[in-house]
C-alpha cells in the first residue's frame, strides 16, 4: 500500500469517534432508501396474492342451478374456457358476541377451487359446521370474530345455525376490503352454504360460476359469455343468468385503485426520505473534507497534485461510504420489511412473508460509496482552490467574522450586551460559523417540522370529516329495504311498528335515491322539516311544510354539488331522475359533508313522489334512549325482528359502526403519512445530532479553553444548547411554510388521485404544538453530544488536532 492509500485509510482511523459518527450518519441515510423497497415488496406480495387467488376473468351470477359433475366438466371444456369453479353465495344475518350483522357466506371449493381460490392466512380450512372469516372483515367492516369464535347464522328456514370460525383467509374477488363493501364475508365448504340456503321448495345448487379463460381479451370474454349462456339455457330450458356478467380486464384486480393510491403516497414519502438522506450525506462529507483543509495544503506544499490529493480524499470518502452502505443496507432491509409487513396487514389485507427487494439492496450498496464520494466533491474543490499560505496560517479563528453577516450581527447589538448572556451568545453565533452545515441542519429541521405540521393538519382534516358527516347525523341506527325477495318500502304501518320498539325514542322516514346532473351522479335524500340531520346552511333556508306542495320542487344542495354546478340560491336546475328530467329550485346550500358533500336534499314527500312511491320511504332513521353500543345493538336487533315479523325484511346500519369505518378508512391514509413521516423525522433528527456531535468534536480545543477559563459543565452545555436551539427555531420557522405547502399538496393529491375530499383545517395552534415538539426533541437528541462536550478533559482538549 503506498503512502497515499495509507493516508486515506488512516484518515479514517485517526479520529475514531468522528469516523463512526460519520459512518453511522451515512448508514441512516442509506437505510432510508429502504422506503423505496416498501412499494416494491408490497407490489410483489400483491402479485403473489393475485396469482394465488386465481382470479376470475369472467364471473356469472345465476339463479340456483343444480349442476352435475358432468355438466361442470362440460362447462370447463367450452371454447375459450381454461377453468371453471362453481360457488354458492348466501346473504343473511348472523349474531355473535359483537351483535347482529348482515353478512355474506361464500360456499366454494376453497383452497382447491381452480378459480377464485381462497387462501388461508391463519388457523385452518373450515370443515363441516365451520367457516373461514375473511381477513379484511375487521378492518373494512368492523365485524371481527376471532378463530375459535362462533356465529349464529340465520338459515333460509328461519332457524339459527351455529358455525365455528376456524381461521382467516382471503380471496380478492370477495374480500370486503378490496371491493369497498361494508358487508363481512365468510367462506365455507359448498355443502355448508347449500344447506343454509335450502328450503323445502328451493333446490340445492350453485348461483355463481367463475371462469378463467385461455384468451382474456374482451373478444375472448364475450365469446365465453355467449357460449356459457347458450349451454346453460340448453341445459335448463331458460336463461338462468340473473345479472350482467362481471369481466375483469387483464392485469386488473379488485381494490387496485385503492392500492395504487396508497403506493402513490408511499412514493411521495420515499422521495422526501431520499431527499433528506442526500442532505445528510452532503452535510456529513462536507464537514469531513473541510477538516482536511490544512492537510490538503500541506500535501500541496510537498508537491502533491490536485489529482493525487483528490484521490486520497475520494478514497477516504468511498471507504466511509462503503462501510455506511453495508450497515445502512442491513438496516434498510429491516426497515423495509417492518414497514411493508405493517402496511400489508393494516391497509391491504395481504399475507406477507420476509422478502428482500434485490434491486433496492444492490442500489443501496452501490449508492453509498458513490454518493459519499460525489458529496465530497464541492468541499474538495473548495479546499483545493484555497491558497496554501492562507490555509496554513489559519489559527482557528477563521470561519467567523470573515463574512459581512457575521460582522453585521455583532455590530447590530442584537446579540450583545447584558440582554444576552455571554454563554448563550457564543452558542447562537456558533450557529453561523459553519454556515453550510448550519444551513443543512436548518433545512433538515424545516423538513421535519414541515412534515409534522402537515400530519397534524391532515389529522385535523380527518377529524373534521367525521364531525361534518357522521357528527351531523343525530340518530343511532337506520333500516333499509333488504335485498332479495320480500323487500318493500316502509309504510306508516311499518313506522308504527318500528316506533314501538323498546329502546327507540324517535323515528324518521327517509327516502334515498340518486340523481344525475350534467352526467354526474349525486345522492338524493328526502328529509322532513325537522330532520335527524343537523344541517348547517351557508345560504338560503331549509324546507317548510308548504314546500311539499310547491309547483317547482325545492332542493338544498350539498357543498360539493354547489361548488361543481356553480348554482346559487334562487336558481333552478334540471335533474335526471327515475321520473325523468325534473326541474328543481335551489332554496339553500348546506355545508355538511355527508356523501362527501355530493348530496341533494328534497322535501320527503317530494322525493317519494318523484321516486314513484308516494307515502312510503325506503329507509327509517332511529333515535335511541341510550347511546351505549350494547343498547343500540339490542334496539337494532329488536327493530329488525319486529319489522321482519310485520312483513318488512330489513338491512340495518349502525351509526357507531359507520363512524368507525369512516375513521378507519380516512386514518389509513393518515397512518401511512404518519408512520413514514415519523421515520423521515427521525432521519432529520439524526442529521441534527450528527451536526451537533461534529460541532462538539470540532470545537474540542475550544471546550478545553473554556474549561481553562473556569467554565462549568452546565455552562459548556449551555453553549451547545444555545446553538442547537437556534438552529431548531430557525428550522421550525421555515418548517411552518414547508408544512403548509406539504399539507395543501397532500389535500390536492388525495382529491385528485384518491377521490377523497378533506376539508381544510389549519389552526394556528398546530405550528405552536410543533414548535414545542421541535424544542423538546432537540433538547433530547443533543444530550449525547452535550455529555461528550462536558467530559472533555482540558489537557487532552488543548492537545487535540
Amino acid at each position: 500500500m503506498n503512502t497515499l492509500s495509507r493516508k486515506a485509510w488512516r484518515d479514517l482511523t485517526r479520529h475514531r469517534a468522528r469516523t463512526v459518527l460519520a459512518m453511522f450518519t451515512l448508514s441512516i441515510a442509506i437505510a432510508s432508501l429502504g422506503f423505496v423497497a416498501v412499494p416494491v415488496l408490497l407490489n410483489a406480495a400483491m402479485n403473489r396474492q393475485i396469482a394465488g387467488s386465481h382470479l376470475y376473468d369472467v364471473g356469472i351470477s345465476t339463479s340456483t342451478l343444480d349442476l352435475s359433475p358432468a355438466q361442470l366438466r362440460a362447462l370447463g371444456h367450452l371454447p375459450g374456457v381454461a377453468a371453471v369453479s362453481p360457488a354458492v353465495g348466501y346473504a343473511t344475518t348472523v349474531t355473535s358476541a359483537s351483535g347482529p350483522q348482515d353478512v355474506e357466506l361464500a360456499g366454494t371449493a376453497l383452497a382447491s377451487a381452480p378459480v377464485n381460490t381462497v387462501a388461508l392466512f391463519t388457523g385452518r380450512m373450515p370443515g363441516p359446521g365451520e367457516v373461514l372469516a375473511d381477513a379484511g372483515n375487521a378492518r373494512a367492516t368492523g365485524f371481527a370474530v376471532p378463530a375459535g369464535g362462533t356465529i349464529d347464522v340465520r338459515a333460509a328456514s328461519g332457524r339459527l345455525v351455529r358455525l365455528r370460525v376456524s381461521g382467516t383467509g382471503l380471496n380478492l374477488y370477495a374480500t370486503p376490503g378490496a371491493n369497498g363493501s361494508a358487508t363481512p364475508v365468510f367462506y365455507a365448504p359448498t355443502a355448508t352454504v347449500q344447506a343454509l340456503r335450502a328450503t323445502g321448495q328451493a333446490p340445492r345448487g350453485y348461483n355463481y360460476l367463475g371462469f378463467r379463460l385461455s384468451d382474456d381479451s374482451t373478444a375472448g370474454q364475450s365469446l365465453v359469455i355467449t357460449e356459457v349462456r347458450a349451454y346453460l339455457t340448453a341445459q335448463t330450458g331458460s336463461d338462468p343468468i340473473t345479472a350482467l356478467p362481471a369481466v375483469r380486464a387483464p392485469g386488473q384486480w379488485p381494490g387496485q385503485s385503492g392500492f395504487n393510491h396508497i403506493m402513490a403516497l408511499l412514493y411521495i414519502i420515499t422521495i422526501l426520505a431520499f431527499g433528506s438522506a442526500l442532505f445528510l450525506i452532503s452535510a456529513t462529507m462536507n464537514t469531513l473534507i473541510a477538516e482536511q483543509a490544512r492537510e490538503i495544503a500541506i500535501v500541496k506544499t510537498l508537491g502533491g497534485r490536485r489529482r493525487q490529493i483528490g484521490g486520497i480524499t475520494l478514497r477516504t470518502a468511498a471507504m466511509l461510504g462503503a462501510a455506511g452502505a453495508v450497515v445502512g443496507t442491513i438496516l434498510g432491509i429491516g426497515l423495509a420489511y417492518l414497514l411493508a409487513s405493517y402496511f400489508a396487514e393494516k391497509l391491504i389485507d395481504v399475507s406477507f412473508g420476509f422478502g428482500v427487494a434485490t434491486e433496492v439492496v444492490v442500489a443501496s450498496l452501490l449508492l453509498g460509496p458513490a454518493l459519499a464520494a460525489a458529496a465530497s466533491l464541492p468541499a474538495l474543490r473548495r479546499a483545493l482552490r484555497r491558497p496554501v499560505a492562507q490555509t496554513l496560517a489559519d489559527t482557528g479563528t477563521s470561519g467567523y467574522g470573515s463574512g459581512r453577516l457575521d460582522r453585521r450581527l455583532v455590530r447590530s447589538g442584537l446579540l450583545s450586551g447584558a440582554r444576552v448572556p455571554g454563554i448563550a451568545r457564543m452558542g447562537v453565533r456558533n450557529a453561523l460559523r459553519q454556515k453550510r452545515r448550519s444551513a443543512a441542519a436548518v433545512a433538515q429541521v424545516a423538513l421535519a417540522a414541515g412534515l409534522a405540521i402537515s400530519f397534524l393538519a391532515l389529522g385535523q382534516s380527518v377529524t373534521a370529516v367525521i364531525s361534518q358527516t357522521i357528527g351531523l347525523l343525530h340518530f343511532s341506527f337506520s333500516t333499509g329495504e333488504a335485498t332479495g325477495k320480500g323487500a318493500r318500502p316502509f309504510s306508516s304501518q311499518a313506522l308504527a311498528v318500528a316506533a314501538s320498539t323498546p329502546g327507540v325514542t324517535g323515528t324518521e322516514p327517509v327516502e334515498t335515491s340518486s340523481v344525475q346532473y350534467n352526467g354526474q351522479d349525486y345522492v338524493a335524500w328526502g328529509l322532513g322539516t325537522h330532520p335527524f340531520y343537523d344541517y348547517r346552511l351557508s345560504a338560503g333556508r331549509w324546507f317548510t311544510a308548504a314546500d311539499a306542495r310547491a309547483a317547482i320542487p325545492p332542493v338544498v344542495l350539498g357543498p360539493a354539488v354547489a361548488r361543481v354546478t356553480g348554482v346559487r340560491v334562487g336558481q333552478t336546475l334540471t335533474l335526471t331522475m327515475a321520473a325523468g328530467p325534473t326541474r328543481v329550485r335551489v332554496i339553500g346550500i348546506d355545508t355538511g359533508q355527508p356523501n362527501a358533500g355530493d348530496t341533494i336534499y328534497f322535501p320527503l314527500p317530494v322525493l317519494e313522489r318523484l321516486d314513484g312511491e308516494p307515502g312510503t320511504a325506503n329507509s327509517i332513521w332511529f333515535a335511541t334512549a341510550s347511546s351505549a353500543h350494547a343498547a343500540i345493538d339490542r334496539a337494532t336487533s329488536a327493530t329488525a325482528d319486529r319489522l321482519a315479523a310485520a312483513g318488512y325484511p330489513v338491512s340495518t346500519t349502525k351509526i357507531y359502526v359507520a363512524e368507525a369505518q369512516i375513521t378507519a378508512a380516512d386514518t389509513s391514509i393518515l397512518t401511512i403519512v404518519e408512520i413514514l413521516g415519523l421515520v423521515v423525522v427521525a432521519i432529520m433528527l439524526m442529521g441534527l445530532v450528527s451536526g451537533l456531535s461534529t460541532g462538539v468534536i470540532e470545537r474540542t480545543r475550544e471546550v478545553g479553553i473554556l474549561r481553562c477559563l473556569g467554565a462549568r459543565a452546565r455552562q459548556i452545555r449551555r453553549v451547545f444548547s444555545a446553538e442547537a436551539v437556534t438552529l431548531a427555531v430557525v428550522g421550525w420557522a421555515f418548517g411552518v411554510l414547508v408544512g403548509w405547502l406539504l399539507y395543501e399538496g397532500l389535500l390536492a393529491l388525495l382529491r385528485h388521485d384518491a377521490d377523497v375530499s378533506l376539508p381544510q383545517e389549519f389552526p394556528p395552534v398546530i405550528p405552536l404544538i410543533t414548535f414545542a415538539g421541535v424544542l423538546v426533541l432537540t433538547l433530547i437528541v443533543i444530550r449525547g453530544p452535550l455529555r461528550r462536550a462536558t467530559r472533555i478533559q482540558p489537557g487532552t482538549a488543548l492537545r487535540y488536532q
Partner: protein, 277 residues
C-alpha cells in the same frame, strides 16, 4: 478590582548577561528579583510530581513527561521555565493550572490540592485563581475583544452582570486596546489578539498568571512589549510563571527554572539568592 498599571513602551533593550552590575541599565526588574530567598509564602508547590502520557485507551507504553519534579514558587515571583522541546515545560504549566493531572506526587496551588479536586471544582477554581495566556492566543472566534475579556467574569459570575463589561473595558484599555473592543479576533493583528488574551487572563484578578510561550507567535518587538505587560502585572503582585525557549526572554525573569528530560536541572533565581559558591 483596580486597573493594572502598565509600563510605557520603551526602546528595545540589550540582552542581560547575568551580572547584576552589567545588567543595570535602568530597566525595571520583575518584582521578587531582589526577594529571592526571602520568606515569601509559597503559592505553587510541586512535590515529587510525575506525569506519564499514555496513548488513547491507556494501553501500551507511556511517555514520561516529568520524572519526579519538586518546584516551589513564592507569591509574587516571576519565573521563566526553559528547556528544549519535549522537556516537560508545558506539562509543568498544565499541572499548575490543573489542566492535566499528575500521575504521581502532589500539586498545591494557592493552598488548594489539585489532585483532590474534581474536574468541575478545578474549572471553578481555575477561573478565579489562574489566568492563562497561550502561544496561539486561543480567543473565542465568535466573541469580540470586549466579549472575550468579559467571558471569565461571566463564567465566574463575578460582580453584577451590568458592571462586568466596564471591568473588561478597563482591562482592555490597560493593554492598549480600549478602542478595539468591538472587533472580532479575525479583525485583530497577532499582537492585538495576544493583548486581548492577557486582558482576558486578568479579568478576574487572579493571583497567578501562567503563560505557555506567550510571545512565541510574535515578532521580537511585539514580544518585548508583551513581556513588559507581564512585568507590569508582576509588579502589582501577580505571580507570573511562563514557559519560553527564548533565552533572552527567560533572562528577563527573576528566576529561571531549566527543565530537561522531565527533570529540573537548574533553578537560577533561587541559587542566586542563596548561592555561596
Amino acid at each position: 478590582m483596580t486597573p493594572q498599571g502598565w509600563a510605557r513602551k520603551r526602546a528595545p533593550r540589550p540582552m542581560r548577561t547575568g551580572h547584576p552590575a552589567a545588567d543595570d541599565d535602568g530597566m525595571k526588574r520583575p518584582a521578587g528579583s531582589e526577594q529571592a530567598g526571602s520568606a515569601a509564602p509559597a503559592i505553587i508547590e510541586l512535590a515529587r510530581v510525575e506525569k506519564v502520557y499514555r496513548s488513547a485507551g491507556g494501553r501500551g507504553v507511556g511517555f514520561p513527561a516529568l520524572s519526579g519534579v519538586d518546584l516551589t514558587i513564592a507569591a509574587g515571583e516571576m519565573v521563566a521555565i526553559t528547556g528544549p522541546s519535549g522537556s516537560g515545560k508545558t506539562t509543568i504549566i498544565n499541572l499548575i493550572a490543573g489542566i492535566d493531572r499528575a500521575t504521581a506526587g502532589t500539586v498545591t496551588v494557592n493552598g488548594s490540592r489539585l489532585d483532590q479536586m474534581t474536574e468541575e471544582q478545578l474549572a471553578v477554581w481555575r477561573g478565579r485563581t489562574i489566568g492563562i495566556v497561550f502561544q496561539f492566543f486561543q480567543l473565542i472566534p465568535t466573541l469580540t475583544a470586549m466579549e472575550n475579556a468579559t467571558l471569565p467574569l461571566d463564567l465566574a459570575r463575578l460582580g453584577p452582570s451590568r458592571e462586568r463589561g466596564a471591568v473588561a473595558s478597563r482591562h482592555l484599555a490597560a493593554v492598549g486596546l480600549g478602542d478595539r473592543g468591538g472587533r472580532l479576533p479575525l479583525e485583530l493583528s497577532g499582537g492585538e489578539q495576544q493583548r486581548v488574551a492577557i486582558a482576558r487572563a486578568m479579568a478576574c484578578g487572579p493571583p497567578i498568571l501562567l503563560g505557555d510561550e506567550p510571545t512565541g507567535n510574535l515578532d521580537t518587538g511585539l514580544a518585548r512589549d508583551m513581556f513588559e505587560l507581564l512585568v507590569g502585572l508582576n509588579e502589582n503582585g501577580t505571580t507570573v510563571v511562563y514557559v519560553t525557549h527564548d533565552p533572552a526572554l527567560a533572562a528577563l525573569a527573576s528566576r529561571i527554572v531549566s527543565v530537561r528530560d522531565g527533570l529540573i536541572v537548574d533553578d537560577t533565581g533561587r541559587r542566586r539568592a542563596g548561592d555561596t559558591s
